[in-house]
């Protein structure tokens, strides 16, 4: 039962409908709001499966359905849907993870007064995200891209009465918008160069060989589009919003800021991969590698459970970008899919912990939850091992290996590979630290002490995600690279390379071992005790804990610049332009003042005597000014008569 491309719009339309219903439903009616949202997403999931069947029938084909949005000139601005394995797989991932997170949210936000709005926003997000995936036009993709940004803004600021949440929402929107401006410019540049924004259009789409040949490769367009991805996917140097976005409710962090939206940048780059020139790819690879290492480093020194996971997300997104940059976009998507599952699992696990521990997020305050929260512990452990890349069983291992192999095979530079390998150790290390602090040892606060396992609406999604976190890896092993070949039948998968695999296994073991040695063997006793690493290298640890001071740096540069520009613009208005207007309006007055000043100056200059005489004379003259208008008129009349007589008598002939 396939879903043909003409009806692909149904996939985003259903959540959109649910959002519409949710927005007008009475806010008391909780089941209606959550029920429609979940039902709509479940239907979308089924439709996505149908779409995958259709796509698998002919994986190399890009089925499209294009239509005119509005007329422009002799042509029209056109949009369209696109169905290929990439779209279908992404849709399945988003709907599946989304569905589980929706179900989890019914438990997590049970007590919130604005339950209805939450599901309304979540449905809006799902609709926009799915629209982004099925878009066959960079314009439509951009539209949905902005809409997911809006949903993210609304959901980060869901608890808007908290100033921190409101500020974080604004920061996220503005930071991603900086990247989006690059995307917008890249888009109009592309439009201007090719006359189209459709990806595939029967030979005339921008990703098709004839148009690409005519375009002749433009590094600038590729890099501008990459700007959008940098903003959305939290790449260096625009990663600063992602950790702050954790102010939103935890299911939001799981869905938007870990599994789906932030991965949209990777998806975008995978989608426009044919446009990217080698130079652009080099930049992307290095950015990804730097991000991967930087995220992992910062994660080591964080204490908030969600922030650790957020920086881990930054780091993993860096891996994906690295994969794109070294030319293997299929492995990037492979890692995207596995990461979506295990990171959603980790976030939901964290959410489960936070919910049980009455919104305590500081890992120093937690501890010992292994006992009371067995399901959560088990599933979280699976997620942690998947993320760390524990060999052979867990999906993260296979996808990360694929990326490292692709980086190894890159013929430009081996630097990304080394940075990636360094990040592997750190990833294993900080995840071990997290596990040890949260689940082992003894409870270090009342909240942690009274924590209890959550209801099934929250644990069942955890279980399902754990299954995926294990199973998904087998779709893309080097021995059976089904996923890569489905996405791109021409993809060349690096087989073999056991040496590299051994190295990476050793590095993972190193990370896990050192983490356990430092944090697990002798667990923390008091919540106020200093971190063992902080004791050994206080300055480095403080620098990392302050997130490498990026926020401070930006506040000191761009923040100042922004403020300065505002002051400048305002002052320009108030003083220069308005002043110019006032200047003209007072020109006459000014002239008068000048006149008087000169007069007085002249008087004071030594003409006192003359002026005295003049003044007397003037005074007598001024007596003629009686102020009597009649008198003046009379004078005029007599003057006239005298004049006429004078003329007559003078004999002017």
């Amino acid at each position: 039962m396939g879903l043909s491309v003409q009806f692909l719009w149904l996939i985003p339309a259903l959540p959109l409908l649910a959002a519409g219903i949710g927005s007008i439903a009475p806010s008391r009616d909780r089941t209606l709001a959550s029920g429609t949202a979940i039902a709509a997403l479940a239907l979308s999931f089924l439709l996505s499966c149908g779409a995958l069947l259709t796509a698998l029938a002919n994986p190399a084909d890009h089925a499209t359905h294009n239509f005119a949005w509005f007329e422009l000139g002799h042509g029209a601005v056109r949009l369209g849907w696109l169905l290929d394995p990439l779209t279908a797989l992404m849709c399945i991932m988003v709907t599946f993870v989304g569905l589980l997170i929706f179900i989890f949210s019914t438990g997590y936000l049970r007590a919130d007064a604005r339950f209805k709005q939450f599901f309304c926003f979540l449905s809006l997000f799902a609709a926009a995200m799915l629209g982004l995936l099925i878009a066959n036009s960079l314009l439509l993709l951009f539209i949905c891209w902005e809409l997911v940004g809006l949903a993210s803004y609304l959901l980060i600021g869901f608890w808007f009465h908290k100033p921190a949440a409101a500020a974080a929402a604004k920061k996220a929107f503005i930071t991603t918008r900086i990247g989006d401006l690059g995307l917008l410019l890249g888009m109009v540049w592309l439009y201007d160069s090719t006359g189209s924004l459709l990806f595939y259009d029967g030979g005339n789409g921008v990703l098709e060989p004839s148009v690409l040949a005519a375009l002749g490769g433009s590094t600038a367009i590729g890099l501008l589009i990459f700007c959008g991805a940098v903003g959305k996917s939290g790449q260096f140097p625009l990663h600063v919003w992602l950790p702050d976005a954790m102010e939103g409710p935890t299911p939001v962090s799981a869905l938007i800021h870990a599994a789906t939206m932030v991965a949209a940048g990777v998806f975008l780059m995978a989608r426009v991969f044919p446009l990217l020139t080698p130079d652009a790819l080099t930049v992307i690879a290095l950015t990804g590698a730097i991000t991967a290492l930087m995220g992992a480093l910062i994660a080591v020194a964080q204490n908030d459970i969600k922030r650790i996971l957020a920086f881990s997300t930054v780091s993993q997104l860096g891996y994906m970008m690295l994969a794109i940059g070294v030319g293997s976009w299929t492995t990037a998507i492979f890692h995207l899919l596995t990461h979506a599952c295990f990171k959603a699992l980790l976030f939901l696990g964290a959410g489960s912990v936070i919910h049980a521990a009455h919104h305590e997020q500081d890992i120093r305050q937690l501890g010992g939850l292994r006992g009371p929260m067995k399901t959560t512990f088990a599933t979280f452990a699976i997620g942690m091992m998947a993320l760390s890349g524990v060999p052979f069983i867990f999906s993260g291992f296979w996808s990360k290996e694929a990326i490292l192999h692709a980086a190894h095979a890159w013929d430009v530079s081996q630097l990304p590979l080394y940075l990636g390998l360094a990040a592997v150790v750190l990833t294993a290390f900080y995840m071990t630290r997290l596990m040890a602090e949260v689940f082992f040892g003894a409870a270090r606060s009342d909240a942690a002490g009274h924590a209890q396992e959550n209801p099934p609406t929250m644990t069942v999604p955890l279980g399902l995600l754990a299954v995926c976190a294990v199973g998904l890896g087998f779709l893309g092993t080097p021995y059976w690279p089904w996923l890569q070949h489905t996405l791109d039948p021409l993809a060349h998968v690096e087989a073999g390379g056991y040496g590299l695999m051994m190295v990476s296994i050793v590095l993972v073991a190193l990370g896990l071992g050192s983490g356990w040695a430092i944090y697990g063997r002798k667990s923390r006793v008091k919540s106020s005790a200093a971190d063992p690493l902080a004791v050994r290298a206080p300055s480095v640890f403080a620098f990392l804990a302050a997130r490498m001071k990026f926020d401070e740096l930006y506040a000191a540069t761009f923040g100042r610049l922004n403020h300065g520009l505002a002051v400048f613009a305002d002052a320009l208005d108030r003083h220069l332009w308005d002043g110019a207007v006032r200047f003209f309006s007072r020109l006459g007055e000014f002239a008068g003042v000048v006149n008087r000043e000169t007069d007085e100056g002249a008087l004071n200059g030594g003409f006192d005597a003359t002026s005295e005489g003049l003044r007397k004379r003037a005074h007598s003259y001024s007596r003629a000014q009686t102020g009597d208008a009649h008198g003046y008129l009379l004078m005029v009349a007599f003057g006239f008569v005298v004049l006429v007589f004078a003329v007559l008598l003078g004999g002017a002939r």
Partner: protein, 169 residues
């Protein structure tokens, strides 16, 4: 022809003279309107229809209204209308001055030999007026326009109640 002119002249002069002499300002304003209408009639008689209509529009239509408004806005108690002390002297002085001017003018008119006037009435159509307004006299038209704008603004500014001053007072 001449009889009509004399008739118009007498009517105009009489109304003007009475208007200047009356005490009641409203009456004199109304009489002045009549006088202006007489002038318009003279223009008609002279063949300048456009000017006649302009006269009617502007004097009879507009200025008279402004005058009436001004009169109504500045209505005073009866006492003020009475002739102020010492004004008899001024009336006499005025009559002397007026008489002198009149004498000079009449003398000049009567003693001057005018060149023989053309028998045919010059005709000027509205179209010609328009053409010279837009052509030869375009600059003057602009200046007049500016003058009117300035006068309008000035009148508004003068007549506006000055809030600050009122508060002071």
């Amino acid at each position: 022809m001449t009889a009509v002119l004399i008739l118009i002249a007498v009517a105009t002069l009489c109304t003007a003279a009475v208007a200047m002499a009356l005490r009641n300002l409203i009456h004199s304003a109304l009489l002045l309107i009549a006088s202006w209408t007489g002038i318009a009639a003279f223009y008609l008689w002279a063949g300048a229809e456009f000017v006649a209509f302009a006269q009617v529009l502007i004097y009879v239509g507009a200025i008279s209204m402004v005058v009436l408004f001004a009169v109504l806005l500045t209505r005073q108690s009866r006492a003020d209308v009475a002739i102020a002390p010492g004004s008899l002297g001024r009336v006499v002085l005025a009559l002397i001055a007026g008489g002198a001017v009149l004498g000079v003018l009449v003398g000049a008119v009567l003693s001057t030999k005018f060149a023989n006037s053309s028998a045919t009435t010059p005709t000027v159509t509205v179209k010609q007026i328009g053409q010279s307004l837009g052509g030869a006299h375009a600059a003057a038209l602009l200046v007049i326009g500016v003058l009117l704008t300035v006068a309008l603004l000035g009148a508004v500014v003068l007549a506006t109640t000055d809030r600050a001053e009122k508060e002071d007072a």
